[in-house]
Symmetry: C2
Amino acid sequence: MTGRLVVLGGGAAGMSAASAARRVDPDLEIVVLEATGWAAAGLCGLPYHLAGLVPRPEDLVAYPAAYFRERRGLDLRTGVTVRRLDAAARVVDTADGPLGYTAVVVATGGAPATLPLPDLGGRPSFAVRTVEDLVALRTLLDTGAVRRALVIGAGYIGLETAEALAHRGVAVTVAERLARVLPTTVDPEPAAVVEEHVREHLRDRGDLRLGTDALALAADPSFDVVVVCTGVRPAAAVAAQAGAHTGPGGALLVDDRMRTSLPHVLAAGDCIAPHHRVLGGPAFVPLGPTANKTGRVAGTVAAGGDARFAGVVGTAVVKVFDLEVARTGLTLAEAEAAGLPAVAQDVVSRSRAKYYPGVRPVHVRLVHEPGGRLLGAQMVGVEGAAKRIDVIAAALHAELSVDDLADLDLSYAPPYAPVYDPVLAVAQAAQRDLRDAQRSVAGPSSLAAR
Amino acid sequence: MTGRLVVLGGGAAGMSAASAARRVDPDLEIVVLEATGWAAAGLCGLPYHLAGLVPRPEDLVAYPAAYFRERRGLDLRTGVTVRRLDAAARVVDTADGPLGYTAVVVATGGAPATLPLPDLGGRPSFAVRTVEDLVALRTLLDTGAVRRALVIGAGYIGLETAEALAHRGVAVTVAERLARVLPTTVDPEPAAVVEEHVREHLRDRGDLRLGTDALALAADPSFDVVVVCTGVRPAAAVAAQAGAHTGPGGALLVDDRMRTSLPHVLAAGDCIAPHHRVLGGPAFVPLGPTANKTGRVAGTVAAGGDARFAGVVGTAVVKVFDLEVARTGLTLAEAEAAGLPAVAQDVVSRSRAKYYPGVRPVHVRLVHEPGGRLLGAQMVGVEGAAKRIDVIAAALHAELSVDDLADLDLSYAPPYAPVYDPVLAVAQAAQRDLRDAQRSVAGPSSLAAR
């Protein structure tokens, strides 16, 4: 293929797409248009730069711009906003003028959901999504002018931001409209474990206010800064306005090769709704690994190569102070919303053998159908939750059942797990309940047979 | 079923069998005959009691004997040696006299491989397998009489024992006949990483001697004690002498219900060779989780219930000083010994995002067939190896391919993983090599087509 590939967005998806396209076609002209001044920045690392754990924003960048330009031969242009995509004419309009393309990859990412904040009387507010947002907030912190902060939203970005601010010595109040933390990440029962942990950490300086009117709180002048963390929506406007079909949350619909409904227009990353293997349809779950993988597929296909995206199962993990909070598949609430027959099994297992020093509880919820089909899992613990969820992610990918999960041959040594790993423990508990349910359905004759 | 179930052995497998049988049949007479004075002791915890991390040997016991006797109604007899099994007459001969049975579960465990040690001139030697062995060695340590110790064998038990002794301030020399550590656990390349780590830890006080004549070293009177850790063999003699068929390593052959070749004789735990799903046949891999699971199946079936054992995939993990060393499936050496076409893919990935404080290398080896069939994996690292191996254990159980592995939706947050998890990184590297190999096999026409 000869021609020009234009990639809209220089984030994880966009740079993955451009790099993959280059691997397929050494001669293709590849232009990457990035609205901010930063390309290939790992946005998931922003809270850790805010906390001071990652000293320089440059540390968050996968490769410097010069590497992409010189070593990969990409025409990477930062600070360029794309106004319009004309799929029929194969042109994108930018602030610098029109740019024709043979193929385009839309990797415009996500945008923070906004709130109708009251007049803050000159106090600053932030929605931390770009490196620039973060640098501005961190610069403000460095002046020492921030003693009290209001974080609006107790989702994972809100809690990560609260932790980072607390780490910097700021008294943080987290305000959430709903009566619980992590409303889109885990079910209420695991969330209660997280809530208690957050309250412990904010006890001395700060507060967690659930089921509250955050906008009213924002008017309180004792908060030196307001940080809005009320979620992410797909930044799909340019492609949607060009006629690309959208689905859940307004995200772009794509096939398994990342092709949108428009010819020669592919899409990847936080602006798309990729296939969800457990739901059996598209879902908006904007996360880093998916951005990287879908970017790679989009770039490969756009350059004339062959690649497919196998879909997601909805795996995610977040660090909340000392707690690992992990999920995969569907929560019970998500399964019920999807109309699936679902039950939840909760166990409190351990991170190590019960006699091994440092052993901690691991809270596990398994979500499955009464017939034994696995739907998802959630894990919460100071250790042993973050990557253990991946065992169930693999099980979901392979469509294993509850019985299969209980059969897995998982590693054991006293410093790392109980002899029945938490994954096996929750699967065994689910098996017992399924057996008891069958026995009670079978009724008296079954009892008599015993 | 009415009658008497006799369980030979009160370790993990035997007590699991007895407890499972009780759940199936509340009225069954269940006799457990245990040769030592300890039942339900977690032998995997012995090194940690030796190290002083687990204060009392009682802490290693899953439940006290009184619990099994009173709450589970088991006739648990300790200090009883079984001399003979007569499968035709359905009788076991013990030191206390004959005992008839309707079914028997052989859970006689493993026994340490022995060595023809030279005359030690009165210096003590140990083979740490039972709680009694351990208590004796620990009592000796507590006297302060042990300044220098020789550990024979650099397998996982040898290295765990060396670590425990070093933790107690003993100068430890580990001597191994082969030129490498962990010879039955990992391939030479991952073993080299472990070797370097062990040398660092023994540098100041002690030594690691590979490819050496350990028996000659044992004659050196400067070693106050000699600990033999040269492996475990199945303690299958009683059942084998009764005519039960044996397989790899002399372990008892069983079907998926843990039935031996003798009628009414079942077996479980370290004395059996269960089905290995990757090898497609029996294998002797004596480990705690398999003992528990096969015990459960044997007890359930022996009491008239229904249960099946799905088999193992060969997963194991060991802590070696600060290093997690994990494996699943087959090593390259094991695959080659089994006549499988196998290649190995090595990558050095990371435990966290590259910019996150505390990030450490994770060495990963993936073993697979040139056609993409997964055969096994090995992981070594200060963090991020022990339970990450379980993702590949699940993949092996589900018979996923290298391509499937690269497609998994694994959890990501900067404190816990790079955006491409080490599992994905090694799968992607294997995919690249497979593609390159296909390309070079296809030859010039393929190159021209590009």
